[in-house]
């Protein structure tokens, strides 16, 4: 594998050896490319994703503290941008979805989630870092776990456990339907919601990065490792595709951070609502 591939996060690991029997075959990028332990091995290895995650937290904390230390009533340029980001979460997600005045309690959660996911996602297309943290399912799972605990805790604290479980079934259903709906809602609340929350983010980042890898590695293979001149010419298209996909990824990354936070706000709002 070449330099380009390594820089893009494609480990030249020997997990799946290139089938040398056929001379040179194209090894399509796969799951293995996302496993990049830097320190240690196995279940407790510190992976590249972990390092990126820690980096993102340090970066975010530094930026946030730097920005909030110099807040003025009349904003400057930097503060204006910071306020725009903060207001997107505060007003667009918190106040709009959860509603005043409850949303203030959950504002730190929403702000943390949004910016942590956003920065980690955008890191995926920033050169050198270039690894989508959220394509390792552990991270979205951790965040979804937090959300899962929060929205159940909020609902139980507000309604009590019994009424909360009872409120899962919408009122006015025929009696024979109640158990089914209850089961369905139970699965939705305790399984579908957290799992899809984690897997949506994971899936989008994983698939997006896989696509990028495919375009870049495919182009690289066609350019450097193939004998057919046609393929070498066509590699230009593959690289162009990777650029287009990078732009598309940026959109998806921001959108996924937004959707994750929006769904968190929605679930919390549902837990706070009196009705089903």
């Amino acid at each position: 594998m070449s330099l380009v591939a390594t820089a893009l996060g494609h480990s030249a690991g020997s997990a799946v050896p290139v089938p040398l029997a056929a001379g040179e075959g194209f090894e399509s990028p796969g799951v293995t490319d996302f496993w990049q332990p830097l320190i240690g091995e196995g279940a407790w290895a510190i992976t590249r994703a972990s390092i990126v995650m820690v980096l993102s937290v340090v970066f975010l904390a530094w930026v946030m503290v730097a920005v909030t230390r110099r807040l003025a009533v009349v904003p400057g340029k930097a503060q204006f941008a910071a306020e725009a980001g903060y207001n997107l979460v505060r007003n667009g997600l918190g106040r709009e979805v959860i509603g005043s005045p409850d949303f203030l309690k959950f504002l730190p959660l929403l702000v943390t989630l949004f910016f942590l996911i956003l920065v980690n996602n955008v890191f995926a297309i920033i050169p050198v870092i270039q690894f989508p943290t959220m394509s390792r399912v552990g991270f979205p799972a951790a965040l979804a776990l937090v959300v899962f605990v929060v929205y159940h805790f909020v609902a139980i604290k507000k309604k009590g456990l019994g009424p909360y479980l009872k409120s899962l079934v919408p009122p006015g259903l025929p009696g024979w339907l109640v158990p089914f709906i209850f089961l369905l809602e139970l699965v939705t609340y305790f399984f579908t919601r957290p799992v899809t929350l984690a897997l949506r983010l994971f899936g989008n980042m994983f698939a997006g990065h896989l696509l990028l890898l495919l375009f870049t590695l495919g182009g690289e293979y066609m350019l450097l490792h193939s004998d057919a001149p046609v393929l070498q010419v066509l590699s230009v298209g593959s690289f162009a595709g990777s650029f287009v996909m990078t732009a598309f990824e940026l959109l998806v990354e921001v959108l996924q951070a937004y959707i994750f936070t929006l769904l968190t706000a929605l679930y919390i709002a549902g837990s706070l609502a009196d009705e089903h």
Binding site: G13, S14, A15, V16, V31, T32, F34, W35, P37, E41, G42, A43, W44, A45, I46, T47, A49, S50, M53, V54, S56, V57, L60, A61, M64, V65, V67, T68, R69, L71, A72, V73, E83, Y86, R90, L104, L107, P108, L109, V111, T112, L113, F115, L116, S135, R136, V137, G138, F139, P140, A141, A142, L143, L145, V146, L199, F202, F206
Partner: protein, 201 residues
């Protein structure tokens, strides 16, 4: 249970990258899960302690500043209103004062004119009186002059008629005086009477 199997699998993992290199990507890596939770906790702490309070305080300050601005503007408006009222009341007062002064001046003027007129009338009356008195004196003088001349003329006429000059003699003078006294007695008042008596004489 799943975790233990996973861990066991991880332990068994060989040098080939092991279980995790080829694991289902939907199985959370334990270290990453923990790093994720810790990262979230740290960032949450920063956001909850620093970012959100700072921004909320800022928004509160800003809304207070705006509300304060509105209050200040309202106060200024009230002050302006008050000043305007004061000004207009003062203006009305001044206008009243001016009207009063004008009325006073008018009445004063009237009084002055009146006084001047009375004075003039009095002066005119006095002048008339004096004129009349002078006239009366002149009439008296003229009358006495006339009576003297008439006497003289009568005497001269009589002497001419009589033919002898009585002029200068005491007797004649006495006669004339007596005559004139008689005249006076016969016509005690009015020039007409005098004239009549004169004509008769």
């Amino acid at each position: 249970m799943l975790a233990t199997t996973l861990l066991a699998a991880a332990e068994e993992g060989g040098e080939d990258g092991g279980f995790w290199a080829d694991a289902y990507p939907i199985i959370p890596h334990p270290a990453e899960l923990i790093v994720g939770l810790l990262a979230f906790a740290v960032l949450y702490w920063v956001v909850a302690k620093k970012v959100v309070p700072a921004f909320e305080k800022l928004y509160q300050e800003r809304s207070e500043a705006i509300e304060g601005g509105i209050a200040r503007a309202e106060q200024a408006q009230a002050e302006a209103q008050q000043a305007r009222e004061q000004y207009s009341s003062q203006l009305a007062e001044a206008r009243g004062e001016a009207a009063r002064i004008r009325a006073e001046a008018q009445s004063e003027r009237k009084a002055i004119v009146e006084a001047a007129r009375t004075e003039a009338a009095e002066a005119a009356a006095r002048e008339t009186e004096r004129g009349r008195a002078q006239l009366a004196a002149e009439v008296t003088q003229a009358r006495s002059e006339l009576s003297r001349q008439v006497g003289e003329l009568a005497v001269e006429l009589a002497s001419r008629i009589v033919g002898e000059s009585l002029a200068g003699s005491d007797a004649t003078t006495r006669t004339v005086d007596r005559f004139l006294a008689d005249l006076e007695e016969r016509a005690p008042s009015g020039s007409a009477g005098g004239a009549t008596s004169l004509g008769k004489a």
